[in-house]
Amino acid sequence: MIFFKRTLPLVIAFVMGIVAISIYYIPHQAAVDLNDLLSKWDRIIAAFAAFLGVYSLLYLHAGRLKRRQAGWGYSVFVYLGFVVMLTAAIYNNGAGPLVALRKGGAYDWLYTNVFVAADASMFAILSFFIASAAYRTFRARTTEATILLVAAVIVMLGRVPIGALLWESMPELQQWLMNVPNMAAKRGILLGVYLGAVATALRIIFGIERSYLGGDE
């Protein structure tokens, strides 16, 4: 049992880790073909996992409905949305489920007029969240917050015509802020990220980090 729960996953992680790294440096067609094969396996596993996701979602909301938990009304909408969209996809504008999704059918209509609209509304709310977060940050209570406030004002003004109208060098100054200090910080973070990713990958490949298997500190 320990073999299947611990040893085998560690062996798979080690072998696949080494293979994946090697493929990156080998241009030979054999390596390209192996990479394609692994990508296909990845997609197949993802397709099976999609069923797990659907099961988890429906099971969770069924429990909420059964217990009449706070906000159970939203669970009704989850089921309603699932059944309506699934029916529209299976009906597929009269063509059935085994052919490509038809344009202009009920599924297409629901996606464009309900889903995309709701998605866009959610995205639009972001502007209000940015405003409230910016208000808290830019209150200039500390030196760092003051620097942030000044930099943000320059960048915002430099990107709209009124900035150049107020001071002709404003666009150049905002560009400099973006290209020099901002870029330097970004690259510093990215260098750390890549090193961290290398270290994490090594810990997993060599079986030093095992918490992704659950347990076994």
């Binding site: 790294i21 241009p27 993802a46 069923f51 979602l57 990220v193 810990r203």
Partner: protein
């Protein structure tokens, strides 16, 4: 239609293997009359040192042609290459380059940083177009095959006349076993790997190794304790990445550590997922963590949930749950996009203590603004090892820090050398 006509002309040109410019006109009776010299256009000069070679470090599906353009070549000419599998043809259109096309020193990936002929022009040919068999058919693109000898004809095409290399060149594309242009990457990767593994080994022998403090991770215990005292849940919100990305694996590793502490404290942990594979792994990790600390009853499968796989549906659902359940602690871990601020602001509104960890540099400012603690960049990857306090894992953190010190040294020296006009270090570390 225009493109098809153009293609047909070029294809016919190579197919027949004849000179590009016609120097005779056909009369109504079918006899040919030579054009007078005053009418005949002068062909553009043919470049010199025309060579064909295999493209290095590839899968044997491309060849490269290089040439030294003549100084008097008009700027509107095009250099064309015809491809055949037999020296006698038929030759098909393989590609063309403008007179002001790329030169050898522009492409170190193929020619290296110090090529022998830096000012030569070049054209990479990886396929050729076979004209349609019927007038209403489409031309077919045929890729070059490894180990097959190809014959190339080189021509300079002007507005009204052209010139062609008399003899075809032969070249055989070969498959290679290593990308030489990525050798620097491999060496640096091996170097950092050896450094990290050395420190892991060193940490085994010296468990009391000093590791710099990370405030955000020291606060995890406090945040979980707060949730226990308040009797409210801890929310662990995954980013939008799948299990194929290292940041998702790092998040799952942190989840394992957090789940252990939460199970010991007998607090509710709710894990939000937007990827079914991350969901499956998270369920297993939380279950095993609960079993590990002797609290298998603490694992509630419903609490590790798949919320939605679309970005804003995920954000709306998680925000809704936060508003209804008002968690005491929110942990945002992984790679986030525009939904980052939606989560963090909502967490702020409900008064939760928030710890965020992301390697998405565009979202770091939003987390710093709204969260109590933010783990920046590599701290996300360090978190699991830091929380585990296991010497082997802590050794890798020291290795990471040493690696960063080496990078800082290279950056400093490289900047100084560049300012002095010396480029070798820049070339050594440049990604190709």
């Amino acid at each position: 239609m225009q493109r098809l006509t153009q293609f047909a002309c070029i294809a016919a040109l190579f197919w027949t293997g004849t000179a590009l410019a016609s120097d005779a006109v056909e009369t109504a009776t079918g006899s040919k009359t030579p054009l007078p010299d005053s009418v005949r256009a002068l062909p553009p000069p043919l470049p010199t040192q025309i060579r064909a070679a295999d493209v290095p470090s590839d899968n044997g599906k491309a060849v490269v042609v290089t040439w030294l353009p003549d100084a008097s070549t008009p700027s509107l000419v095009r250099y064309q290459v015809g491809v055949a599998t037999n020296p006698s043809g038929p030759y098909y259109f393989g590609g063309e380059a403008p007179a002001a096309g790329p030169i050898v020193k522009d492409d170190p990936k193929i020619f290296g940083w110090s090529p022998v002929n830096p000012d030569h022009q070049f054209l990479v040919v990886s396929s050729y177009m076979v004209p349609p068999a019927t007038p209403d058919g489409n031309p077919e693109r045929v890729e070059l095959r490894p180990d097959q000898t190809y014959y190339l004809r080189f021509a300079v095409v002007g507005d009204s006349a052209s010139a062609e290399l008399a003899a075809p060149m032969s070249v055989t594309p070969r498959q290679n076993w290593i990308k030489l242009h990525k050798l620097n990457n491999l060496i640096f990767g091996l170097f950092f790997g050896v450094v990290i593994l050395s420190f892991i080994e060193f940490a085994r022998r010296n468990p009391n190794m000093f590791i710099r403090k990370i405030a955000g991770l020291d606060a995890v215990e406090e945040a979980l304790g707060r949730a226990t005292e308040m009797g409210k849940p801890v929310y662990f919100v995954h980013g939008l990445n799948s299990m194929g990305e290292v940041s998702a694996i790092a998040s799952v590793n942190i989840l394992g550590r957090v789940a252990r502490r939460v199970a010991q404290f007998d607090t509710t942990l709710k894990v939000m997922n937007n990827d079914p594979i991350v969901l499956a792994v998270s369920q297993e990790v939380v279950r095993e963590a609960c079993i590990d600390v002797g609290r298998p009853d603490a694992y509630v499968p419903d609490n590790v949930m798949f919320v939605a796989d679309r970005q804003f549906s995920y954000a709306a659902a998680v925000d809704g749950m936060m508003m209804r359940e008002r968690p005491a602690t929110v942990m945002l871990m992984g790679y986030f996009y525009a939904e980052a601020l939606l989560f963090a602001e909502t967490g702020n509104v409900v008064g939760a203590i928030q710890i965020a960890a992301t390697d998405s540099y565009t979202q770091i400012p939003f987390f710093i603004t709204t969260c109590d603690y933010t783990l920046i960049g590599e701290e996300l990857y360090a978190a699991s090892a830091y929380l585990a306090r296991e010497p082997k894992l802590l050794g890798s953190l020291r290795g990471q820090d040493v690696g960063k010190a080496v990078l800082i040294a290279i950056l400093t020296i490289g900047t100084a050398l560049e300012l002095a006009g010396i480029h070798w270090l820049t070339h050594l570390v440049a990604p190709l």
